[in-house]
């Protein structure tokens, strides 16, 4: 187990290295030039050359890369934004709890709905409740979450002069108020993400329910409840958990629009605005931090398989 974890952590290093190279290169391959914009539109420096020197953009690309990655690895310094000159990590740390909370609640909503409907659908295969569940899943899959978010905000304002958009309050300051603010965006986002979970849950459970050890359980005279929840569900969860792991980057990426519509000051908007302003260090560092989190989360998910299926061993 320990060796497995160490090996996975070691494997994460080349992954993150590749991510860092790709995001670094992509920012520089993007059309438009940040220095031109900062000088011609905003007078950040008297001349282009002066600004390039100031930002270090006049040096060879590999030197720029080495300095950025070196700062992170050696000093934990993720650099400063070109535009605001503020440390990126500070802004990230300030905004990350919002996105994290949104992601956690979204996962909660999608998992609860997806697993529940998935189980009902599988256990009552080809009955009315199965069809309803499957229709709901397809519906959730086909409605874009940003469209649903706009409807949820706009329609009640038209018909009831009320809208579920409030002024953001941190969880630590007023948990109840915070929960009120976060519930609707998490529901909107979570419902649309529940579709795939429901479908995987259903097919995986159907598969497990046909296995021999389940037949044995039936022949022992166990109740349906015990068989499904205690014997089948745990094994059927493995692909579902993998799916949640795979969806994690979507929660961060999709949060841009949810944050904009519901006025949540999270990482998504910070990242999006930096991308629009070609703020290289912000895009690079935020991308790298999120990539590291996704890698870490996937490791946790892989480790959770042992809990779900004791036959799985880590070597």
């Amino acid at each position: 187990m320990k060796r497995y974890v160490l090996r996975r952590v070691a494997l994460a290093i080349p992954t993150l290295f590749l991510v860092s190279v790709i995001v670094f290169a992509m920012m520089r391959l993007m059309p438009g030039d940040v220095a031109t914009r900062m000088v011609e539109g905003h007078a950040y420096a008297p001349t282009l050359a002066a600004l390039r020197k100031d930002l270090g953009l006049d040096r060879p690309v590999h030197v720029q890369y080495a300095e950025w990655i070196g700062g992170i690895v050696l000093r934990g310094d993720f650099g400063n934004s070109y535009w605001t000159r503020q440390p990126i990590l500070d802004e990230f740390v300030r905004r990350f709890p919002v996105t994290l909370e949104l992601a956690a609640l979204t996962i909660l909503v999608s998992v609860v709905i997806g697993i529940f409907v998935g189980i009902v659908s599988a256990v009552r295969q080809d009955t009315a409740s199965d069809y309803v569940g499957r229709i709901l899943a397809i519906l959730a899959l086909s409605v874009p979450y940003f469209g649903l978010a706009v409807l949820v905000v706009v329609l009640p304002s038209i018909y009831f002069k009320w809208t579920p958009v409030w002024t953001y309050v941190p969880l630590t300051r007023d948990p109840l108020e915070n929960l009120k603010i976060m519930t609707v965006p998490a529901l909107v986002f979570g419902v649309t993400r529940a579709g795939p979970i429901m479908r995987i849950m259903r097919s995986s459970l159907l598969d497990v329910l046909r296995q021999e050890y389940i037949r044995t359980a039936w022949s022992k005279g166990l109740s349906e409840r015990t068989i499904v929840l205690r014997h089948a569900l745990k094994n059927a969860m493995i692909p579902v958990v993998s799916l949640i792991g795979l969806q994690t980057p979507l929660y961060i990426g999709g949060s841009v629009i949810i944050e904009a519509i519901f006025r949540l000051p999270g990482v998504g908007l910070f990242f999006f605005e930096a991308l629009n302003k070609l703020d290289y260090p912000v895009v690079q560092s935020v991308n790298l931090i999120i990539a590291a989190m996704v890698v870490g989360l996937n490791l946790l998910i892989d480790l959770s398989y042992a809990f779900l299926d004791p036959r799985i061993r880590y070597r």
Partner: protein, 536 residues
Amino acid sequence: MARRFTIAMSLALVCGLVVAEPAAAQQPKRGGVLRMAEREAPSLDPHLSVSFLTHSYVSLVYSQLVRFPYGPEQQHSTDFSIVPDLAERWTASKDGTVYTFHLRKGVKFHAKPPVNGREVTADDVKYSLERFMAKSGFRSRFDPVQSIDIVDRYTVRVTLKEPFAPFLNHLANPTYCVILPREAEEKFKDFNHPDSVIGTGPFVLKSYDKGVKLTYERNPDYFMKGLPYLDGVVVEIAPDASARLALLRSGKVELSQLWGWVNPEEARSLKKTNPEMVMTPANAMGQSIIYFRTDQPPFNDVRVRRAVSLAIDRKSWNDALLFGEGCLESGPVPCALKEWKLEASKMDPARAKYLVGYDPNEAKRLLAEAGLAKGFTTPMFHWPGYQPPWRSFYDLAADNLGKVGINVEMKPEEYGKYVSTTYLGKFEKMAMGPVTPFTEVDDWLYGAFFPEQPNNRSNVADAELNKMLVAQRRELDPKKRKQIVDDIQRYLADKAYYVYVPSLAWHVAHPPYVKGFRFHDGYGLGPRLVHTWLDK
């Protein structure tokens, strides 16, 4: 006789009452907090950002030497006459090259450290104007300024290299020359930190919760006695337009953006859902243009550009996309800038048709004459993200041009690329987009047509025009200047350097209890709110 007198008296009384009653009802009340929804500003430092959001947010906090009239002082929404602000009076030398400003005495900065309510002096004015000239993206506005000198504690002298007619207008525009305290920059390095935002304006920035809201409180020591009426202002950061409108509908804000604008379509829907909402049509500055590389084929040929203009069916355009409320722009001076605008009806019709006319057959003939009888294909660079109905604008332009044989290839660009290239005139052949509104006519003329200006997006280089562009800047007599500006508009009528399509229309919308919020174009959110009050 006596009876007649009585009737007359009664009539007078009734009239008096009728007149007196609304006057009594209109007596402004103190108190209340006005809330508005808007996007986040990229920075709070007025010299390190060219964003109108930045300048609007800090216009609540800062004052200027001179300003435009607002609220009850203004004649109309583009009244850009000059009235005193921190300078109670000023004089100009006869040749217009030396301006002397005399400051109000006893005006104090907000009581926030490190400035702590210190009095404003000539040194602050010199510091602020010089910082503008050194740092702002708009610093070229002050290129004609030679020096800024302190005469005494309350007197500043600005010397220009040459007569410069736009000078006072630039000084009065909140986008440029607000007066800042030096100590704040020394302590915070710039004016972006919320604690560094210390001015002499009507409101004090109390707190800034990034990504969430800006909270302002009334400045109890504001030098305009009894003003502002509001106890405070809150800007609720809401990046999404549909959410901003939903906040207005549900009564969570009083204004759904800085000017309180909604577009004609939203206005119609708002009238249905919230019939109590007060809505006033606002003819705002702003233009929608097709622009060209006039220095490269095929658009270096005036016949091709004229063909583009004649292909645009402006009337149907306005009806289809703007409910007939948009303005059919005729030339570079926007409709809303009434004092400088020369209507197409006052020009030679034979030439004005290239500004406002619709004649697809003539367009085809012109193309044939230019050797393009079979038509041609051109890219149209643009940023698709501008608010509705902009996307339809691009489609309609392509459709109109397609009908005369100009095949438009849509070239949508990512925002970063658009503003750093196309927007600055660096593109191939043809592009389309809105124009940033400016308060000084010089920006619409010199800025858009003089070589090497960043807003000269069509890369115009016209020696005869250049002479007139320079002349209007140097002419200090407003009447004579207006004549030159008219001549420029006449001259440009058939050049089609830019093709103007109808400009957007707006309605200012707010609940009925918001009073005294008169629409004034430009970026003075603070001064607009000075006269605003809440009747509830």
